[in-house]
């Protein structure tokens, strides 16, 4: 026997379903729209410079010559510094939160880490200019050039503003993301894994190492999410990196990133080719972060879903 529902009810359901679906479609098409919009706006620059835009090192608005390599370099190097510093710390925090901390400590600490993630980028930047940069100039850079000055990455005058400052501030900013997602990933490893290894006589740390092995791809995903944030971070980096489009091996030297060149020069870009080149950088940034985030989500999902 089939249930009879009145047609009026059915109509309401159908309308409701498709109305909400249209909104889901809007969200979905938003990404396409964003990509299309930037592609259209950057067409003059794409047509004029082609692939050499990615390898060119000259950024000269007067001569209308644009190459984005210094910015790509700056973005990659500052993000790499951030990950090198933040990753071990984040994994330590994640282990602490998921395996070691009593619930009484875990909840407030998780909240503090959420707070750290919630501080606006501009406040990090303000703090960077007035606290971090002077500290780097007077303490960190002299220390490194005294003890490790023979390495090319520690050459140059201690100026404060530069790649090192950008990397440090980025590491503080990506830490809460990597830590909180890694914690979720570790927590999704089944309890039986811990019991099994501890039951065989493993020490706490040996048991944690096995759990880390299970959570490996999830932690990699968390790291990629952190990388995505570091690549796109704008204000804090713009305020401390020094904003000079050069490629230098020294961490003390000023640099420039893709996001910060857009933030700095967009409003003062007068010619249409200048704006077009800046939008092409935005498009590159967009594509980079989309790829990184897709990989990250797939990795994180694969762990937190399959074990649930």
């Amino acid at each position: 026997m089939r249930l009879k529902t009145s047609p009026r009810h059915n109509l309401g359901d159908v309308v409701f379903k498709y109305t909400t679906m249209i909104f889901a479609l809007i969200v979905l098409s938003l990404i396409l729209l964003m990509g299309y919009e930037m592609y259209q706006d950057s067409k003059p620059s794409i047509l004029k410079f082609g692939w050499s835009f990615l390898t060119g090192t000259t950024w000269d608005p007067v001569q209308e010559e644009y190459g984005a390599l210094p910015f790509i370099f700056g973005t990659l190097v500052s993000s790499a510094i951030a990950l090198v510093i933040a990753l071990p710390l984040s994994i330590g925090i994640a282990i602490f939160l998921s395996e070691l901390a009593p619930p009484r400590l875990e909840r407030p600490l998780s909240f503090l880490i959420e707070l750290l993630a919630g501080i606006p980028s501009i406040v990090y930047g303000l703090w960077g200019i007035f606290v971090l940069v002077p500290w780097i100039r007077t303490s960190i850079e002299p220390f490194f050039s005294r003890h490790l000055g023979f390495l090319p990455i520690f050459h140059g005058a201690p100026y404060g503003f530069g790649m090192l400052a950008a990397g440090l501030i980025l590491s503080i900013m990506v830490l809460p993301i990597i830590a909180s997602i890694s914690r979720d990933v570790l927590k999704s490893v089944p309890q039986t894994q811990r019991e099994a290894s501890l039951g065989l006589g493993a020490t706490k740390w040996q048991s944690i190492r096995l759990i880390l092995k299970d959570a490996k791809s999830g932690i990699l995903g968390a790291t990629l999410l952190g990388l995505g944030r570091a690549i796109g971070e704008t204000m804090a980096v713009t305020m401390v990196i020094g904003n000079r489009p050069t490629i230098s091996y020294s961490l003390f030297d000023p640099g420039y990133t893709m996001a910060s060149v857009i933030a700095n020069e967009f409003t003062e870009a007068t010619s249409s080719m200048y704006i077009s080149a800046l939008i092409e950088i935005a498009l590159l940034l967009f594509v980079m972060t989309i790829i990184v985030n897709m990989l990250a989500r797939i990795l994180v999902w694969s762990v937190t879903r399959s074990t649930r």
Partner: protein
């Protein structure tokens, strides 16, 4: 038959020591994570609080050289921008969340969910560039509306995903009970399920407002900034964050100090929102 006593081998000590060292490092990193948070809060409160007075909230910015003045226009500007962003972003986000939670077991929904997560990773400056192309270029001038569009793009993923998660937490028995009474599906969703998940949805809204209230990069070339009083969506508008940026870069100590005061206001606002979220989520259905 004798019982051999337990004689620890060197491997035993090695793994004990290695374990203790690594655990100690984990504790240490948890402590280290708090250091920057404490430092940032300490400096912002310390430097901001002495320049925070009534004038800051009710006065307009003064020209260079004249001491005093406030950021009344920027505070109102931030509110206008957040309200505009919310007016566009919240309905889209909430309805998408409802769709994903209630009808979300098909390929399209999986893809939409995935792309929403990806969208949340798009840099805020990119949202600004897009809003510039979509709104500023056709209008031929910078405007609060353009800033609102940029902020809406940024808040949609957060609202969508929290709405979905919160609706999913509503027990199935609620739906079944309502449907058994002959209430149509859509009424069940809107009046039973969404109402039950209401507190959770509010959480998502607060979280997303906290996210966009602190945004600077997408406003730089959409809302631009404005030293004068304006609440018009058609005109450039000032915001706390852009003021902090301009005042932090300026070589005037008075302006730098006001930047700290503005940062303090912003931090209080955003921490207050996260605290509100904590309080709201202590309800029945949102236990984590």
């Amino acid at each position: 038959m004798s019982i051999t006593p337990f004689v620890p081998s060197w491997q035993y000590y090695r793994r004990k020591i290695a374990g203790a060292t690594m655990l100690a490092l984990c504790y240490l990193s948890a402590v280290l994570a708090i250091v920057p948070l404490v430092l940032i809060f300490f400096y912002t409160i310390n430097r901001g609080v002495s320049y925070l007075n009534l004038d800051f909230f009710i006065q307009m910015p003064k020209p260079v050289g004249e001491p005093g003045g406030g950021m009344a226009n920027a505070i109102v500007g931030t509110l206008v921008l957040v309200a505009t962003g919310s007016a566009i972003g919240l309905p889209i986000g909430i309805l998408t969340g409802i769709y994903l939670a209630e009808f979300g077991n098909n390929k399209f929904a999986y893809f939409a969910r995935f792309m929403t997560d990806v969208l949340s990773g798009v840099p805020s400056i990119v949202a600004g560039v897009v809003a510039y192309g979509l709104v500023v270029v056709p209008m031929k001038h910078f405007s609060a509306a353009a800033g609102g569009v940029a902020l809406a793009i940024l808040m949609i993923p957060t609202v969508t995903r929290t709405t979905e998660e919160m609706i999913r937490l509503v027990p199935h028995s609620y739906r079944e009970a309502a449907l058994a009474l002959g209430i149509p599906m859509w009424k069940t969703t809107m009046q039973i399920v969404v109402r039950t998940a209401f507190r959770g949805i509010i959480t998502g809204i607060l979280l997303s407002i906290a996210r966009i209230a602190g945004e600077t990069a997408p406003l730089l070339f959409t809302a631009l900034g404005n030293r004068f009083w304006s609440t018009s969506l058609d005109q450039p508008i000032g915001s706390l964050t852009v003021f902090i940026y301009d005042y932090a870069k300026a070589p005037f100590e008075d302006w730098n100090n006001q930047a700290w005061a503005a940062a303090l206001v912003l931090i209080i606002l955003i921490s207050g929102l996260s605290l509100a979220v904590r309080v709201v989520t202590r309800s029945k259905f949102v236990q984590r």
